[in-house]
């Protein structure tokens, strides 16, 4: 009951913040139409075997949702600055319930971004079977786990001032190296590096409807390790972050 009360409260707060929603959801939609509309008839983007609209639909879904997940950190940083986080700590709210509320609200924004981008994709001719839609969405949501932990970690490490650059820079770097904007070369250093990033596998989810097996063992290991390490660090950062800011 306590956990639900706090989660519901965070949902309300999130969906009442119109500016936040506009930027985190509107921005990916605009880029999608700006890039995919002129290229809607490209059947295989850069030799990836995936149509341009599908590639960019998933690419922008990954970019928008990564940003939404990490942006949780900005909200946490500002709550710390006002002293609200310390106030919450002296209530019976458990660490687990706190984390759950933060992660679920971030996922709610992400799901909204994903659904709107799917609708935009369909409007430009993207089509696939119902099971492919679901399977692809599932992979995206799983690949977002490390970013949820990253948002909480950054929120408890950084101040409001440094969150802007951290979100912008971090998201861009992960998006670029993960192949969000264009497919990575199929071999070489960037390709090898990319495979070690969760954002790479986020983008690879787009291969599911093309009949491929987008995630092999490597994907699960990379996502699992990033999630585990970042979760441990986030928990540690939260516990030691009791000082007045």
């Amino acid at each position: 009951m306590t956990a639900l009360a706090y989660t519901r409260f965070e949902f309300f707060r999130m969906f009442r913040n119109a500016r936040f929603l506009l930027f985190s959801i509107g921005f990916p939609l605009i880029i999608f139409y700006a890039t995919a509309l002129p290229n809607r008839n490209v059947r295989s983007f850069n030799g990836s075997g995936i149509s341009f609209p599908l590639y960019y639909m998933v690419g922008l879904a990954s970019f928008g949702t990564m940003a939404a997940m990490i942006a949780t950190g900005a909200r946490i940083a500002s709550e710390r600055t006002t002293g609200w986080t310390r106030q919450l700590r002296i209530t019976p709210l458990t660490t687990r319930a706190y984390f759950r509320a933060k992660v679920l609200t971030a996922y709610a924004t992400s799901l909204l971004t994903i659904v709107l981008l799917y609708l935009a994709g369909v409007s430009l001719g993207v089509s696939m079977s119902g099971s492919d839609w679901l399977g692809m969405t599932g992979l995206i949501l799983i690949a977002l786990l490390p970013f949820a932990a990253m948002g909480i970690l950054l929120g408890h490490l950084l101040t409001t001032d440094s969150m802007g650059p951290a979100i912008g820079g971090g998201t861009s770097l992960f998006a670029f190296l993960g192949g969000t904007w264009f497919p990575l070369a199929s071999h070489g250093f960037v390709h090898d590096l990319g495979q070690l990033l969760p954002s790479y596998w986020l983008v690879q989810a787009a291969h599911l409807p093309a009949g491929g097996h987008p995630w092999h063992a490597m994907a699960w290991i990379v996502i699992g390790v990033w999630t585990a390490v970042l979760t441990v660090l986030a928990g540690y950062a939260y516990r030691r972050d009791t000082k007045r800011v």
Binding site: Y6, R16, N17, T82, G83, R86, Q87, I90, T91, T94
Partner: protein, 323 residues
């Protein structure tokens, strides 16, 4: 002094868990650039259930650090603190403690009622939200967003957030700082309704008047130590002296000492300076006996000065300033 009717309860606390808070040998230091700030330097304090205790001290006395340790927000370098018979963390988890911390804003994008209601849902036995809002006097702003409140309203909402827990122990860290006189009066009126239920309350303040008006017991803190502990009347007699200064040539200080309410008198040139146990009586007596006295100034109790006298100056050189 505010003409607020005093409803202090000095009755013995009810039987049951007799200790609200027990601190033994608490110390806490912080690293600062080039130095170590010894914020709390050995505090022993037992607060019985049902007492309203004021932690009185100037900025940097270590009040907030002491409070942070009582709430489990900071762990002591040495010493122990127990709250209602258990650890601070256990008391927090059981919902027995609530506090209004020093730092002052509320989160945005929520209405007052939603905020207080959410906090209520975190506690096992909360007060009714409507009841708390009325008690604190914010019923009429219940539907307003938190970012649209004035400073005084924000403090009231923060009090409601603490009170809605209906805690056994309530801790307030400089709750009325930045409030005007009217706000302060309303605040303490609401608090009295709460303390009348026999709950334990600890509040930090640097206003002697506030401690005197609202506490059963005052503990003086300076430089990380307790320097005095007693009933408000005792403490006030020790540190609460006001000073009257006046231009009054040709009267020897010994004569001024005979005036009612004057405990000390000295002269610098044409100016005399009277240290008063009762400044109201002293000023009447002064003007009655020496009508030519002019340029009269009455200054309130200088706590910082009083603390220096109580602690001794040798102690100050290596002390730091953490509130």
């Amino acid at each position: 002094m505010q003409p607020v009717p005093s409803t202090k309860t000095r009755d013995a606390p009810p039987a049951g868990p007799a200790e609200g808070v027990r601190a033994e040998g608490l110390t806490k230091s912080f690293k600062a650039p080039h130095t170590v700030v010894r914020a709390v330097r050995g505090i022993d304090l037992t607060i019985p259930v049902g007492q309203t205790l004021a932690l009185l001290g100037p900025n940097g006395a270590g009040k907030s650090t002491t409070i942070d340790m009582m709430l489990g927000l900071t762990s002591p370098d040495s010493g122990t603190v127990s709250v209602l018979g258990g650890t601070p963390a256990a008391a927090v988890d059981a919902g027995l403690v609530a506090a209004m911390l020093q730092a002052g804003a509320l989160i945005r994008d929520v209405r007052v009622r939603e905020l207080v209601g959410m906090v209520a849902a975190l506690y096992p036995r909360p007060m009714a939200v409507g009841e708390v809002l009325e008690l604190v006097g914010i019923g009429e702003i219940a539907e307003r967003k938190t970012q649209k409140l004035s400073g005084g309203q924000t403090q009231r909402v923060r009090l409601a957030v603490a009170l809605v827990a209906d805690p056994e122990l309530l801790i307030l860290d400089e709750p009325t700082v930045a409030m005007d006189v009217e706000g302060r009066r309303g605040f303490w009126a609401a608090m009295r309704t709460f303390t009348a239920r026999g709950r334990t309350v600890i509040f930090a303040t640097h206003y002697l008047e506030e401690a005197d008006d609202n506490a059963d017991r005052i503990v003086l803190m300076a430089h990380g130590r307790l320097v005095a502990d007693g009933a408000p009347t005792e403490i006030k007699a020790r540190v609460g002296r006001r000073t009257i200064r006046a231009t009054l040539p040709d009267v020897p200080p010994e004569r001024l000492l005979e005036l009612a309410g004057v405990a000390g008198a000295e002269r610098r040139g044409v100016t005399v300076s009277l240290s008063c146990t009762d400044s109201d009586a002293a000023i009447r007596a002064l003007l009655g006996s020496y009508p030519p006295a002019r340029d009269i100034e009455i200054t309130g109790a200088d706590l910082e000065q009083a603390f220096l006298e109580l602690t001794g100056d040798d102690d100050i050189a290596d002390s730091g300033a953490i509130g």
